[in-house]
Amino acid sequence: MSTKTLAYILKRIGLALLTVWVVITITFFVMHAVPGGPFLREKAVSETAQAALEAKYGLDKPLIVQYGTYLKDIITKFDFGPSIKHRGQTVTGMIRDGLKTSVSIGLIAAFSALFIGVPLGAVAAINRNKIVDRIIMVFTTLFVSLPSFIMGSLFLYLFSQQLKWLPANGDKWTGYIMPIITLALYPLSYITRLTRSSMLDVFGQDYIRTAKAKGVSKGNIIFGHAMKNSLIPVITYFGPMLAYIVTGSLVVEKIFGIPGIGSKFVTSITDRDYTLIMGTTIVLAMLIVIMNLIGDLLYKVVDPRISFD
């Protein structure tokens, strides 16, 4: 690997780490900016939790020291401290439980968006301005503009309550169909439109004309010559897509009652469970930053023309 490439990768990783550190720092100091301190303000903090926090962070020590301890615990042990509201549970433990569910739903949604969106976009591009294309464009415009909580609520009402086709939630795999669809709709529509416009753009390029002039068949032109070039912009969307799925999960988990990390984050805020808030924020932020990083690096790998600066 050339030195230029290496330098670029290191620079991006450095930025990612910096961002995560900024998030941790902001979260910490923002939480402690609540007058009276986060731990003391709410009277409902239990004795055991108080004691545990005291032992861990030394609540009368200066803020900077508490910050240092907090940071050290995260980096060395992934320890976010005890939960304030849920007795006996650690934040790390709660996050781990929620992460499994959220990640599986998120990944399935992401793959669906990709493996349905790209072919759909290709179909639209090949049949430009015909009925198929117009139908696809109408639906994708719709789904790209409608907020996910609306789609989710509508699905809940329609398929669960009125038509009784799918359960609202639960452990059976069918309970996950609606959440996944709700989560996947926006990225799917976006990818479809992106693929479509990217392919149309490629179709107009000179090298496609050259291929045609050589006598290459239409199928070979579309799936051979055009496809590779068309996918490059789609790959740049990976990072933002995964970031969207993380934030989208907040809404989806609430509507369908899924105990993932997203719903824990939201309830922690209304519960004022400050250690949980901090923990979930940081983990979610890390996920997003990592996804963006992967997306960035992937893009540079795929397109041989891009210079690394």
Binding site: D206, T210, A213, P304
Partner: protein
């Protein structure tokens, strides 16, 4: 029989704004092994003519009339399946901008071998060898190494050589070159022209050279067609056109070339701008810019007039001269009929 016979070709583009008449009834012939030049401004229809022959017109373009006979076979209206066998095989084309004409995600080798595998009986190994041979033919050094490289690793001049190699790999009867040197540096231009000349002598294919550069015409071509606004103004051998231009537009072109004799004098460009192909008025399309235009030029297009067996011009001026020296008889104003 001529290798390529084009008769009254008409091609239009049907856009949202209306019908753009890009080629408006042109006729010419190309003999085996000859080099024909098509010269004209942007918008004159020269590229569209080439694309019509190859039938690679962009979406809204259609051949709406006329005939194109290649080796006796009519090309207008044949199936796409049949046309695919001709493209890249019997008739090849190279384009203006080599920087964008090669697929950035395929190696040079892949793109070279593609045409060979498509049109000939060679297997992969033989195709590879043929591709390397072609690269050598166009003076690309270290051909084996080059086969594995991507287009972005090549310079403009080298890419154009690769395009030429790709076009000639299947030994076509006709090579169409659409402004092959316009996007290149002057020194590279000279190299490419020299290469094409020597290849023509070596392989003996006919060439249609499309350009707006009269110098290139002078260096390469046997015969010339001068196009303007979708019609042919004048056609003939290079000598005839250069030394005895008979159409006002051609005369204007020749006048605008700076030569050693005109050193120190003001350049004489042709004034005005080309006509709107969306709304073609009656009359000669060049009339609005022509200093010698006559009333009849604004009313009607001229009939083609043979100055001699090597030279034909479509300009009322020649007909006027014909009337003046008695070779043409006029019968006064009666209803115009097509005789």
């Amino acid at each position: 029989m001529a290798l390529l016979e084009v008769k009254d070709l008409r091609t239009s583009f049907f856009t949202d704004a209306g019908e753009v008449k890009a080629v408006n009834g042109i006729s010419f012939q190309l003999d085996s092994g000859k080099v024909l030049g098509i010269v004209g401004e942007s918008g004159s229809g020269k590229s569209v003519t080439a694309y019509s022959i190859m039938q690679i017109l962009a979406g809204t373009g259609k051949i709406i009339g006329g005939s194109i006979k290649f080796d006796g076979k009519e090309l207008v209206g044949i199936s796409e399946k049949e046309m695919k066998k001709i493209r890249g095989n019997k008739i090849s084309i190279i384009f203006q901008d080599p920087m964008t004409s090669l697929n950035p995600t395929y190696t040079i080798g892949h793109q070279l071998m593609e045409a060979i595998l498509l049109h000939t009986d060679r297997n992969k190994k033989q195709a590879y060898e043929r591709a390397v041979e072609m690269l050598r033919l166009v003076n690309v050094n270290e051909p084996e190494k080059r086969m594995k490289q991507y287009p972005f690793e090549f310079s403009g001049g080298m890419r154009q050589r690769v395009m030429i190699a790709m076009a000639l790999a299947c030994e076509p009867d006709i090579l169409i070159a659409d402004e092959p040197t316009t996007a290149l540096d002057v020194t590279i231009q000279a190299q490419i022209i020299e290469l094409m000349n020597s290849l023509q002598k070596q392989l003996g294919m006919a060439i249609i050279m499309i350009t707006h550069d009269l110098g290139v015409i002078a260096q390469m071509c046997d015969e010339v067609i001068v196009m303007y606004a979708g019609s042919i103004c004048e056609q003939g051998t290079v000598d005839e056109i250069f030394y005895n231009p008979c159409h006002e537009y051609t005369k204007g072109l020749m006048r605008s070339i700076p030569t050693a004799d005109t050193a120190g004098q003001r350049l004489q460009p042709i004034s005005g701008t080309p006509i709107d192909l969306l709304n073609m008025p009656k009359g000669c399309p060049f009339a609005p810019r022509c200093d010698a235009a006559m009333k009849i030029c604004t009313q009607d297009t001229a009939k083609p007039y043979d100055i001699n067996e090597n030279h034909r011009a479509t300009c009322w001026m020649n007909i006027k001269k014909g009337v003046e020296n008695g070779t043409i008889e006029i019968k006064g104003e009666e209803e115009q009929t097509n005789e």
